[in-house]
Amino acid sequence: MTVHTVAGSVAESAVPATGRSGLLAGKRLLVTGVLTKSSIAYHVAQIAQQEGAQLVLTSFGRAMPITEATARELPQRPPVLRLDVTSSEDLAGLADAVHGELGALDGIVHSIAFAPQGALGGAFLDTPWPDVATALEISAYSFKALVTACLPLMPDGASVVGLDFDAGQAWPSYDWMGVSKAALEAVTRYLALYLGERRIRVNLVAAGFLRSLAARSIPGSARLEEIWRTKPPIAWDVNDPGPTAKACAVLLSDWLPSTTGEILHADGGLHAVVVLTGARAIRCPSCAPSCA
């Protein structure tokens, strides 16, 4: 059987744990956004299990059977709960459903985003409000909705992590999804503010471009992919969600107990630099002969 792995992925680097050891030993986590094995959330779920966590996944509608099939590929098959984050009924029933599976929640992974085609691909100036509203509700407001729905199950010191794409600048074609990610970043800061009293940490991982099917469905995504293939100071593998998943795992762990409202970039450093054509070839003065 062909097994499709990506270089450096969590599948190759982590030792399976059983819940008694590992970075996330004993943690009970809810992970949204697992669709296929190329989903970032799948790799987060995989490394979380390998590091000792117990999981529930969520999905709904046409995606539900796909998520259930993909869940069977994980080291331990987790239950998949129905959750449409725009459904007040689903949100109201979530805590009970999770309680029935895990009892409580030590962490949440929000990996949910959607924008109608008219809100992407260069139509920014003409996108109608209903399309913008959809993008904002599903991609940003849902973070608050998901967290508050789960709050009754979360002990003090729990951790919430969302998946972000650097909204500090405007990306070609990303358009209203970029605006939605900016809103997600603001939602994160406010959640950190209001949940700090309970020491619940709320953070984002801003990943570099990854070649998931959803990402490549964005019109003009080839330009984003090209930027990440050529510009980051540390080479970025657009086929490897491993570094992003590891960043999520660290934020879900107990190792960053005073970090909240933060955006952790797992992007090869691209957010921090201005790179002109060929700039990766710039050499540091101290080691110019050997450093390329």
Binding site: M1, T2, V3, H4, V6, L35, T36, K37, S38, R62, A63, I66, A69, R211, S212, L213, A214, R216, S217, N239
Partner: protein, 85 residues
Amino acid sequence: MTNTLQPTFEQLAVIMEDKLQVPRDRITPETALKDIEIDSLAMIEIMLAAEKQFDVEIPMEDIDTDGNVEDLFQIVLAAVDADRK
């Protein structure tokens, strides 16, 4: 898993007809995927059905909603060829 039968375009077209509820005569090698309104979820549904039918794992990172039906068929063939090696 190792396959002995080569998938045919017709088999893929039948899967697409079933998943998309699009008339079979609209699915030709040249048909642009966008013209039959394939979104990313529909694409995954089609590929999972193809994986089951052809007993092969298709790398989702190779799939794109740009392009045409022939491009999709070639991805299926490549997956089957890779599985045989």
